[in-house]
């Protein structure tokens, strides 16, 4: 099955009537810019994000990620199509959506002349949160994001990493069920990025917050996302878990395996494996055999080696990381 058909299945055929299962749903969502709407930023986007999942939304610059997020939170009105966030319509029920969600946009600016507490107090007032609850929540949030020590410091003096973490705290001020994060780790050092990723994962696990995240860091997306969607030039290319995306390429391009075998010489083992049906190529690398097969032939190889009196001490698939998958998908499309 080629990737085109597979991705189309994933994109189109799973669209179901609204259920409580999904935190975010879009149907043929489209948005164009320009005087004559000549720049199509998002084209017929169909997405379903399950409640409680961390969903990665990736694509090259100008792919339509931020435009999609802006439409989902009601900052931009779609030209065509529809969408729902937590069951609320993205055009008619924008305020309900914002009551239920939090967002860390990119770029995100805060009131530099105010302290962290004063900033959060201002945002909390927009949700009419009672003063005593509000103050406790502010302290807890800043504690959660590791900024308790800076509660009375002015935001203007914060480092980029601190500002990002503060941004996460402001997005959580209303205890949202859905969190939109637009490149949450851009511009911060690896340690800060790791800390941010841990925070997002913890939030998702401990509070069940659905996270819709866009990022250019494939490592980040691979580490924290349950499912991903790849978008390019406004068009959804693929959607699924990373393993599902790998399957697309397994079927299309085959699989690379690495083997270590005991009680048989590598040359003998190579001969046996070469004769197994489905093996395309084979090479010996030091004490390891690297082979390429059209399909999953793990069982067949294991049987053949066992029959020849050998033991497999290592049998690993050379899994394609998200970076490679992403580049391949973008190139192919």
């Amino acid at each position: 099955m080629n990737m085109e058909i597979r991705s189309t299945e994933l994109e189109q055929n799973k669209i179901k009537p609204r259920t409580d299962e999904f935190a975010i749903e879009t149907l043929n969502l489209s948005k164009s810019f320009g005087k004559e709407k000549e720049i199509r930023a998002v084209k017929n986007l169909n997405l379903q994000v399950k409640k409680g999942e961390v969903f990665g939304f990736i694509g090259p610059n100008g792919a339509g990620k931020t435009t999609t997020m802006k439409m989902l939170i009601g900052l931009l009105e779609p030209d065509e199509g529809s969408g729902k966030v937590e069951g609320f319509d993205i055009v008619r029920e924008v305020i309900n959506i914002r009551e239920q969600t939090g967002m860390l946009p990119e770029p995100a600016g805060f009131y530099d002349n105010l302290t962290a507490r004063q900033n959060l107090r201002f945002y909390a007032k927009l949700y009419n949160i009672e003063p005593d609850i509000r103050e406790k929540r502010i302290e807890n949030l800043l504690e959660t994001v590791g900024l308790a020590h800076a509660i009375e410091q002015k935001i203007g003096g914060f480092s980029t990493g601190m500002r990002k973490r503060f941004g996460l705290a402001q997005a959580l001020i209303n205890e949202p069920s859905v969190l939109f994060l637009d490149e949450p780790t851009s511009g911060i050092d690896p340690l800060g990025a790791q800390r941010m990723r841990k925070l997002i994962k913890d939030l998702n696990k401990s509070k069940g917050v659905t996270v819709f995240l866009s990022s250019h860091s494939m490592e980040e997306v691979e580490e924290i996302c349950d499912r991903i969607a790849i978008i390019s030039k406004g068009k959804l290319l693929v959607i699924g878990s990373i393993e599902e995306l790998r399957d697309i390429f397994r079927e299309k391009e085959g699989i690379h395996y690495l083997l270590e075998i005991q009680e048989l010489s590598l040359t003998e083992a190579a001969k046996i494996i070469k004769n197994t049906e489905g093996v395309n190529a084979l090479e010996i690398q030091d004490r390891t055999l690297r082979l390429h097969a059209k399909m999953n032939i793990r069982t067949e190889i294991a049987k053949a080696i066992k029959k020849a009196g050998g033991t497999i001490s290592m049998f690993e698939e050379e899994a394609m990381n998200l970076q490679k998958l992403f580049l391949k998908i973008i190139e192919e499309k």
Binding site: L75, R98, P105, P107, G109, F110, L126
Partner: protein, 289 residues
Amino acid sequence: MKKNNVFVLAQKEAADHLRDPGFLVLLATYTAIIFASTYMYGSMEHQNNSTLLSSINIQMISRFTPLIGIVLGFDAVVREQKSGSLNVLLTHPLFRDNILAGKLLGSMLLAASIIIFSVFVSVGTLLIFFGLELRETDLLRIAAFTLLTFFYVVIFLGIAILISTIVKEATDSLTYNVVIWLFICILFGAILKTLVSIFTGQTPNESVLLTHLLNLSPLHHYGEAIIGRADLSFMGVNMESTIGGIFDTRYSLSQCLREFRMNIIMLILMPVVLFIIDFIAFLRKDLTL
């Protein structure tokens, strides 16, 4: 419109200004100007045995008070957009018009406070240093004067917010606002008189066209309402009125208000129209970065 959020935003807008050292320095300078000019003018008028009302330095107030509106509004939108804080604010549960309404309300409240304070400074200076008598009827006229000054300042606030919505840099906004202030408060009358003289050959006093064109200036309406028919030559309002405004104690306040109702209506209408334009510009603008 979420009313609560408008008040939250208004409160923040006013507090932001009051926390800003630059704004406080300007406020102190403005107060010093009002005090000094009232004192100087008062001492001159005192020698002529003038009343408290005629000793208030309208020329200075009409020239410098619009700066309050400009300072409150010139970076109201552009600053937030440039810093990205508008980007974050828009993700919270408020409508776009809430944001502008909050900003306008906050700035208007602050402008009202400053005007009331400056009137206190003016009247206080005249009472303390020259021992002028404050009559009961004067209080109402001073209240009317304060209100008209508020509308006059709010016109400049409306212009400042409009420019702040359109431009991309706060410095550009400040430049345009200062140019507009100079034009309206210092040069408009002189330029108009010169142009009318050149093109019609009439003297300014006999030109009907000039009278019509002067109606475009908020300073003209403010000046007429306060001190009567004004001479808007170089440097703004000059005190050469022939018909008194609300400070003319020969007539009752209600008579004065009736006489200058068109000026008063214009002073109220101008900010309303400007605010409508502000809202349209703000709602049409792509505010996200």
